[in-house]
Structures are given as C-alpha cells and as structure tokens.
C-alpha cells in the first residue's frame, strides 16, 4: 500500500489549491448545516416540551391550542378529577387562555405573538421553568413575563416596558423567563384572569394542561375526559400533540435536504476538479509507483484517500464554522398557527450527520473519476510524460 503520508504531503505541497478547495467546500457544507441546525432546534423544542404523563385537553376536533377553545366550567370540572398528580399547592393542572395579537418588532415590522394566560401550576407543567431576570408576575396586576428572545426583538418587551396590543390589552413586563428550550419560549405569559378580562373572553379557555399521577391514571384520565358525557373533549398526550405541530419543521427539513443535496453536487464537482488536476500533474509519479510494483488497487485507494482527506478537511472546517451559530436564534412565523416562533440553532447529531454524509459523498464520488483515470494509465507512456 502507498503510505498515507504521500497524500498528506501532496496536499501540503499544493497548498494554494488545497486551501481554495477546502474553503469552498467548507462554506457549502456550513450552509447546509445551518438549516439542519434550525431543524434540530425546532424539533428539540417540540420534544422537550413535556413529561410523558402530561395531557393537553382541547375541544373535540380541534388540533391546536390556538384554536381549541371550550367552556371554562368544563375545565373547572376537569381539575377535580381523580388521577391528577397533586402536590403541596393542589393539583398539577392549569387552565390556559391563548390570545394571538399583532406586535411590532424593533425593526418596525410586525408579527403575531401568542399571549398565554396561565395559572400557577402552568409553570410546573413546563420543563425547567425559570425566571432569569426581574421577577415573576403577580396575578391581577396586569403584569407579564416574556422570554429573552422576545425581549430582544419586540418594542416595549424589555423589563419595565409595556407591551400594548390595543387600547384594552396592555401588560407591564416584569421579568424574563426560560422554559428548557420548549415552545413556551416563544410566548408572552400573563395571568389567566388578566387575559380573560382584557380580551373579553371570560367563561372560556383555550386548553387545559394536566399531569397524571401514574401511567394507569393517565389512561384512565384520557378515557374519562374523552368519553364522559359532561366533557366530550379531546385529551392529547403532550408528546403526540407536539408531534402534530411539526409542520414548520417538515418545511425546514425539506428545504434543508434540497439545499444539502444541491450543494453536495456543487462541492463534489469542485473536489473532482482539484483531484483531476492533482492526477494530471503527477502522471510521472503514478507511472513510477506502478513501475515500482504498486498495484492498480493501491493507486486507486491512494487517490481516493487523498480526495476523502481533502473533503474531510473541508467538511470539518464547515462543521466548525457552524459552532458559533449555536448562539444564534431566528424568529419567524409558525405556518400552522401564524404566530411567532423562536428557533434556536442547535448543534447536534443531525448537523453532524449531514456534514459527514456530504463530506463522504463529495470525497468518494468527487475522487472516483480522477482516481480511475490515474489507474488506467499505461505505465510506459506515463513515465514518458514530461
């Protein structure tokens, strides 16, 4: 076998070409990885959203919290059901009311924000609910808390500011909260009673969230809520509910896949170009190696190895370039609720997988034809070449 050192040295000697190719492919790999990092962040936010024993109760037939309103009286009855987990403060269950209102960004553009009226237990029903700045709101005082991303983006959303969604609906921002990267981090939270009053929707709720005390109670609760004549509601296991909200993620995935495939071809051709040139300028060397007794297989493996090494450098650099991206989040519109959704770039297995596959594909396929050309050379004429 031809020592691998031969290939490494070759890349080093032709460093200008190597550098150009590496930079070119690195940018292409990074571009694809960015979208997959967003997909990863979005899916993470849907996945972490709950405990396996959490249920979301919506009106029968409704598919989303934003659209699934029902009577508050029914929700009150829900809270009294046996099988709901209880702690020192009472049942771990909450009525919530959602309003979607237009808010102005600092840039002067608009987006729809979800304002969620919550009860104290709502905090326990989210993973890692934490106040990271300021304080939690006090019920009944027209206060609200916002996630850091919204505080950065929207007019009047900083602590001490006022979020105004109209003449009647105004909230004083008193704190910033995080919730383990879950969906709640795209919403404004206020007191349920305040939101009810401000929107004139007393007597109805958008959804009820509750946690069962065990797997047996979980099934029992679902059955009771869905079949009980006084309810006739749908109880969705939280994990499955969030799966159904993944439309936006599907779109990102499709777009990301398309970009990755096209760019892989682009990068593949670039790698092939470099390798063709490498083979051509080393015709005599190849002839010499064959004359020394290295087999066709050896030469093939050597050039393929060099091509893979070249693209590994590019892919690795591209992957590294996406690491600072994890500080970045983008805010856009969720296509299923038309409301603001904040997506944090997340560096994870999906991103690494994409980078690895792109790298291998462009290394192997980009190097294949040049390597075959090297193999097919007649030893005598290759040696004769200047």
């Amino acid at each position: 076998m031809i020592p691998f050192k031969y290939n490494v040295r070759n890349l080093r000697v032709r460093w200008k070409t190597t550098l150009m190719t590496v930079l070119g492919t690195a940018l292409l790999v990074a571009s694809s990885c960015i979208l997959f990092g967003l997909v990863e962040g979005l899916e993470h936010s849907l996945k972490v959203s709950g405990d396996p024993l959490d249920l979301i109760v919506l009106r029968k037939g409704a598919t989303a919290e934003t659209t699934g309103g029902f009577e508050s009286k029914k929700a009150d009855e829900l809270m009294t059901l046996g099988g709901i987990l209880r702690d020192a403060d009472g049942p771990v269950a909450a009525k919530e009311l959602l309003n979607i209102a237009v808010a102005e960004r600092n840039s002067g553009t608009y987006n729809n924000l979800i304002i969620r009226g919550v009860e104290p237990a709502s905090r326990k029903l989210r993973p890692d609910f934490k106040i990271v700045a300021g304080r939690d709101f006090e019920p009944g005082k027209g206060e609200c808390i916002v996630p850091p991303s919204a505080a950065r983006m929207y007019k009047g959303a900083r602590i001490g500011g006022q979020l105004a969604f109209g003449e009647k609906e105004k909230y004083l921002v008193v704190g910033l909260f995080t919730a383990g990267g879950s969906q709640a981090e795209s919403e404004v939270w206020a007191d349920l009673k305040d939101v009810e009053r401000n929107t004139g929707r007393e007597g109805s709720v958008s959804c009820a969230q509750l946690r069962a005390s065990g797997p047996a109670e979980f099934d029992q609760l679902r059955k009771e809520i869905e079949d009980g004549a006084q309810f006739l509601l749908d109880a969705h296991p939280e994990s499955r509910y969030f799966e159904s909200q993944a439309d936006t993620s599907t779109f990102f995935k499709a777009a990301g896949t398309l970009i990755a495939i096209l760019l892989t071809f682009g990068a593949m051709f670039a790698a092939a170009n470099t390798m063709f040139s490498a083979v051509k300028s080393r015709t005599r060397e190849i002839g010499t190696m064959r004359a020394l007794g290295f087999s066709r297989g050896d030469v093939l493996m050597s050039f393929l190895g060099e091509s893979v090494l070249l693209s590994l450098l590019g892919g690795g650099l591209g992957l590294l370039a996406t690491i600072p991206m994890s500080l970045i989040s983008i805010e856009t519109m969720n296509t299923s609720t038309f409301a603001s959704v904040n997506i944090n770039f997340r560096f994870g297995p999906l991103v690494m997988g994409v980078a690895l596959i792109m790298t291998l594909v462009m290394g192997v396929f980009g190097g294949m034809l040049p390597a075959l050309r090297a193999v097919r050379m007649e030893v005598v004429s290759a040696l004769r070449e200047l």
Binding site: S31, G166, G266, N273
Partner: protein, 398 residues
C-alpha cells in the same frame, strides 16, 4: 473580437475541468434561484395587487380579534367603495386531516365583484349564489382532489365547533400568481350554524357568543379608484377608533407585505446562506482558473514574447473566467426559470406554496452575480499571468 476564438478554444481545451466548473456554478445558482424566488415571487404577486385598488380591514389587535359582521354593510355604503366582502378563515379539516388549503367564508353576492380578477362563469356563479351550502373552489384544488361541479365537499371544524357540508357549485379561474387552491363559501352558512349552537347551549354572554358567530374575520374592500384608497383607510379607522373593536385598515399590498415580514429571521437566514454560496463559488471558480493558468505558464510567456502586452493578456484571461462562470450562471438561472415556468411544483409542496416561479428580476440578478463571480475569480490568476516574467515562463518545463 478577433481574440474571441482564442478564448473559446482555451475554455474548451480541458473540457472536464470547464464542465465541472460550469456544473458547479450552475447547480449553486439553481439553488440560489429557488431560495430567493421564494420571497421574490411572493413580493411580485403582492405588488401586482396594487392595480385592483383594494383595501383590507382587520381588527387592530390582529387576526384573532373580532370584526362585527354588520361592518361589511357599513363599509360598503361608504363613499368611494364599490364592493366589500367578509373574508373569514375557517381553517377546517378535509377528510379528517389538517390541510394546507385556505377556506374562506365570504359574501357570495359581492365576493367576485371585490376580487374581480377571480372569474366564475355566469351560470356557476348563479348556482353558487342560490345554494346556501354552495362553494366555489380553485382549479388546482379541483385537479388535485379530482373534484367536479356538483360534488360534495364536507369540511370538519377546527377553529369553529361546527362542520360544513359544502356543495361545489363553481370553479374559479384566476391569474397564475394568485392562490388557485382556495375554497370560498357563504359566510351566512357558517354563521347560522354558529348561532344555532350558541342558542342551544344556554347563551351565556349576549354581547359575544362564545361560538364566534357574527365575526367577519377581515373585510376585503374594493375601491372605485387608486386615489381614494388612502383616504378610505383613514376614514374606516377613524370611524371605529373608539369602538370595542378598533380596526387597522391598509392596502392589500401593505397587508401582504406585513404577512411576508412576519417571516422575519427566515428571510435573513436565506440571504446569508446565499452569500455563503456566492463566496464559495468564488473559491471554486478561482481555483479552476488558477489551475488552468498554472498549466499554461509557458504559453503566456510565448504570447508576451511575440508582443502581446500586459493589458491584453489580462483581458484574455479575465474573458475566459467570465465566459466559464457566465455559462454556468446562465444554465442555472435561465434553466431554473424555464423549469419552473413549465413545471408547476405547488402540488408537491402540499400547498405550502400556492404558486412558484422565478421572476425575471431574480434571474437577471443571478446572472449578474455569476458574471461577477467569473470576473472576481479571474482577477488574481489574470494579474499573475500578466505580470509573469517572460524568461522564467519560457524556461519552465511543465
């Protein structure tokens, strides 16, 4: 001009390398076209609505806010208004699945006067008006689900707790850059069902039934002429300022603009990805050009020895780089334009994109970018060739 043959010959003499470079640029530009057209096509279609002189009235608090249905008549009676229709998003399920086509409750008598670029044959329109459960659907939707006039189309409520049993009475035709997958049905059909439901269940709040009846959603208003739109927007907002449901009225173009701006960070991300691709193309094309020039060191020296000056050598190399990149760019941009003009991809997006095409402006900008890539990538190799020493070049044995 006489050197054109020389440039062409040079570009062709390593067909594999030129081919790969052209393909690499073409594919990347093809991708850029898809990414930028997504927003540009929306924008272009949106600007096109200007000619129809329409304004849209919505609740100042957003889409979730109420718009009392009585206002449709009030607005229609204002000076300078030709027609007005409620436009209420039903957001139902079809065949018990969440679907990505829009369903709107409208006023059957005025909707096609308001949206006058949507055409329905007279007999179909009459049938639609006469049937309370009638609906008019878009041609693409009809093709996709194989629906014909006279078919039933049951929709299940998602936002609203009532189901609709619609009968298809007509199929509209509309310009290509409009949504051809809508379902339009009688607002009164939805509203009556909601009212019945409201009265059946106790009827707790008299001012505002919990079922959402009496809501027009948004109001589409057709104005007499372009000059009256701005004044009307203001007049309508002033009229309702101190009511329970203040309004925000804007032209259809501004309304669409607001929607597209909601995409926010996504647009920026796409822009930066585009930039990264262009920069990487600079490397790819520059590399190819540099490799070509390295092989031709002796030749360049010969050219200079027989009297070609620096400027000419520079121009020849640059011309070759621009030619190769421009060829790739033309393939990618014009190719994608032609492809999406012929093939309609909207069915494959599950309705996410109601229409998709590459606007001329985007294609030409793309072509310009690729020419720039060619020029920029050729600068360094060209300068090196122009300044190379004749003696060294002739001495070199490649």
């Amino acid at each position: 001009m006489k050197y054109l043959t020389y440039v062409f010959r040079n570009a062709r003499r390593n067909p594999v390398r030129t081919g790969l470079t052209v393909a690499s640029i073409a594919i990347s530009m093809f991708l850029m076209m898809i990414l930028t057209s997504f927003f540009a096509a929306m924008q272009e279609a949106n600007s096109a609505t200007k000619q129809y002189n329409r304004i849209i009235v919505m609740n100042a608090n957003g889409f979730a806010g109420q718009m009392p249905i009585a206002r449709v008549r009030q607005v229609a009676a204002m000076d300078g208004v030709r027609a007005a229709t409620p436009f209420s998003w039903y957001g139902g399920k079809y065949q018990n699945k969440r679907v990505l086509f829009a369903q709107f409750a409208v006023d059957a008598d005025t909707v096609f006067d308001t949206l006058d670029e949507y055409k329905v044959p007279d007999d179909q329109l009459a049938a639609f008006k006469a049937d309370k459960a009638g609906a008019v659907i878009g041609p693409k939707l009809a093709r996709e689900y194989d629906l014909k006039i006279g078919d039933e189309m049951p929709l299940q409520g998602d936002i609203y707790p009532v189901d609709l049993k619609l009968n298809i009475r007509g199929i509209y035709e509309s310009p290509r850059n409009t949504d051809q997958r809508m379902v339009l049905f009688h607002h009164s059909y939805l509203d009556d069902q909601l009212r019945q439901l409201g009265s059946a269940s106790s009827g707790s709040s008299p001012t505002r039934p919990a079922t959402g009846a009496g809501n027009a959603g948004i109001i589409f208003v057709k104005c007499d002429d372009a000059t009256s739109t701005a004044a009307l927007c203001k007049a309508i907002d002033d009229e309702y300022r101190s009511t329970d449901f203040p309004t925000r009225t804007q032209t259809e173009e501004a309304f669409g603009q607001m929607f597209s701006e909601m995409m926010g960070g996504l647009k920026d991300t796409v822009f930066w990805i585009g930039c990264a691709v262009v920069v990487s193309l600079l490397f790819v094309a520059g590399n190819a050009m540099a490799m070509a020039m390295r092989e031709r060191t002796t030749e360049v020296a010969v050219l200079k020895a027989i009297g070609f000056n620096k400027g000419l050598v520079l121009t020849l190399v640059l011309a070759e780089a621009v030619l190769v990149a421009g060829l790739g760019g033309a393939l990618g941009t014009l190719g994608s334009k032609a492809l999406f003009d012929v093939v309609d991809i909207s069915p494959f997006t599950g309705g996410f994109l109601p229409f998709f095409y590459v606007p001329w402006s985007v294609a030409l900008i793309g072509l310009g970018v690729s020419l720039f890539v060619g020029f920029a990538s050729g600068v360094v190799p060209a300068a090196l060739a122009a300044n190379s020493s004749v003696i060294n070049g002739l001495r070199k044995v490649v």
